[in-house]
Amino acid sequence: MENLFKLDKLEKTYPNGVRALKGVSFDVNKGEFLVIIGLSGSGKSTMLRCLNRIHEPTGGDLQFKGKSVVSLKGRELRQYRSKIGMIFQHFNLVPRKSVLENVLTGTLSRTSIFKSVFNMYSDADRQKALELIEVVGLKGKEMHRADNLSGGQQQRVSIARALMQDPEVLLADEPVASLDPATSHSVMEYLRKIQQQYGITVICNLHFLSLVREYGTRVVALKGGEKMFEGSPSEIDEDWFKRIYGEQAVEVTIN
């Protein structure tokens, strides 16, 4: 199995002194659907943001395809980021812009500053953006304002935006946490499609274990900034569940 990310005692301490990651080590393999679970504040989001260096790790090493990426700067860093798509809990679309314009922002790293400021995207990019909008089932909504769409539709726009980067990995930070159960499954189905049909590795933070068991191929659990479990979703039994989420926790399912 080809190794994609290698986290080696990765640490993150915020300027206010909070130690979000206390030396986390694990590997991410190419093509898998890796799910990160853990309580709020366990370091899941921080971990994900350290992978594409939106947050700077403060210790340890991070390798992408065998090369350390913790000291990349400027253009090299931006090119590295462009290989990693990301979607967010609150979608983070550009307000007041159309679906098409939002999807096209996925090409910013390869479009010159001048051209992107004046919306001068190449025909090939426009064509590709239209195709991806169709892939996520939003054909006909290209010129609608993205911030007027429903939550599930906005998340699909952000998936199309991430795909526009031609990514090798997709990071998903609680992609369904602000969606209703039915929409959640539809968005998760799109993520699975991306992983299986496009061969893009997916690393996804999730809350619901039912979703983890259904979609994940492997699970890493974090607690208090430390890795406390790594294995297949079926291995998480009642005992592990209580160790990850605390004695008082009761599992909630989402159908």
Binding site: N52, I54, L77, R78, Q79, Y80, R81, S82, K83, I84, G85, M86, F88, H90, F91, N92, L93, V94, P95, R96, K97, T105, G106, L108, S109, T111, I113, S116, V117, S158, R161, Q165, L171
Partner: protein, 339 residues
């Protein structure tokens, strides 16, 4: 450590307030100081000394420490009504003394207001103002057009400067590095200084620099507009949602692209709204600036006022009121429609 500095702060407040009280009573109520007397620095020293002693007594011995009140050193949970908060009564006494001194200093006089000569003067000027001379209508309209355009150009020229500066004056964009923060503080400092100088003062400076006329007025308004708009813009930038910014960074976009897509779409309409409002304010300010030689209808008003031609002044006041009302109306309508 913290306890000590709090105690010092309460003492400092009590000392300053006690000195103020002594100074008020001594120089205004007893000796009735006026401008001509100058300041007697020796007795000012004595006042400070008495203030220090009084402040110490208030702070240490009595329950009248306002410093302790401000820094919440008193337990107010059991105090019922003002009777059990003697320090609040002292506060009211200081307020009353300030009010009394204020009345003395502003030379309030009902006699002047209602005297025979006063009433006659008022009747004369109001009669003239209410009978505007429409012969200078052309002149007034041309002058007010000058004022409106001057305000427009001042707003338009200040816009690109304010737009660029605002990004460097927004804390959330600049706190990435030590260098960024330094730039932020330097720009904030200059914006605060230039904003605290009134456009009227700028107009005086520029009327010496480029000569009396609309150009001087335009420059004065522009300087003030740049700093005011940059502040409003940057506050808007500080309030944006970080999400799109984060998403654009994650795509591997250049920082300029991140700002163009992550920040600008979120702030463009508020910016436009602030700018239109600024034009509205600038029209009003341009009138005042004209009084010190900034051109436009203010300068014309000043000329007629100097000649005591009150009928002409009356007409100009009508024109100004009409234009200000119209600008106010239009700008609020436009701002509503672009929300």
């Amino acid at each position: 450590m913290k306890k000590k500095s709090t105690a010092f702060k309460t003492l400092l407040i009590d000392f300053l307030l006690a000195s103020y009280l002594v100074l008020c009573i001594d120089s205004f109520i007893f000796t009735r100081h006026t401008m001509e007397n100058g300041i007697d620095w020796a007795s000012f020293g004595v006042v400070l000394l008495i203030g220090l002693i009084l402040g110490l007594i208030l702070n240490r011995v009595s329950k009248l420490s306002i410093g302790k009140m401000f820094l919440k050193e008193y337990d107010t949970s059991k105090a019922r009504g003002i009777g059990q908060k003697p320090y609040a009564i002292l506060g009211l006494v200081i307020l009353a003394v300030t009010f009394y001194v204020g009345v003395l200093v502003t030379e309030l006089s009902f006699y002047e207001f209602f005297s025979q000569a006063g009433i006659q003067g008022a009747t004369r000027i109001f009669t003239a103002l209410l009978n505007p001379n429409f012969e200078v209508l052309d002149q007034g309209i041309l002058a007010v057009i000058e004022t409106i355009y001057m305000a427009f150009i001042a707003t338009a020229f200040s816009l690109p400067f304010a737009f660029l500066l605002s990004f460097f004056a927004a804390r959330n964009l600049m706190n990435g590095s030590g260098f960024g923060l330094t730039v932020y503080y330097v720009i904030r400092f200059f914006l605060n200084v230039s904003r605290s100088i009134e456009p009227l003062v700028w107009a005086i400076i520029f009327s010496v620099w480029v000569g009396i006329g609309p150009f001087a007025g335009m420059l004065a308004l522009m300087i003030h507009s740049v700093s005011s708009l940059a502040k409003l813009y940057s506050e808007q930038i500080e309030n944006i949602s970080e999400g799109p910014l984060e998403a654009m960074t994650a795509t591997g976009a250049h920082p300029i692209q991140v700002i163009w897509y992550g920040v600008v779409p979120q702030v463009i309409l508020p910016f436009l709204s602030f700018t239109i409002y600024r034009w509205d304010i600038n029209v009003r300010m341009a009138t005042v600036i004209g009084l010190v030689g900034g051109g436009g209808i203010g300068t014309l008003l000043m000329q007629f006022q100097g000649l005591a031609r009150w009928n002409e002044v009356g007409l100009l006041i009508i024109i100004i009121a009409a234009v200000v009302w119209l600008m106010d109306f239009l700008s609020s309508k436009i701002r509503e429609s672009i929300k």
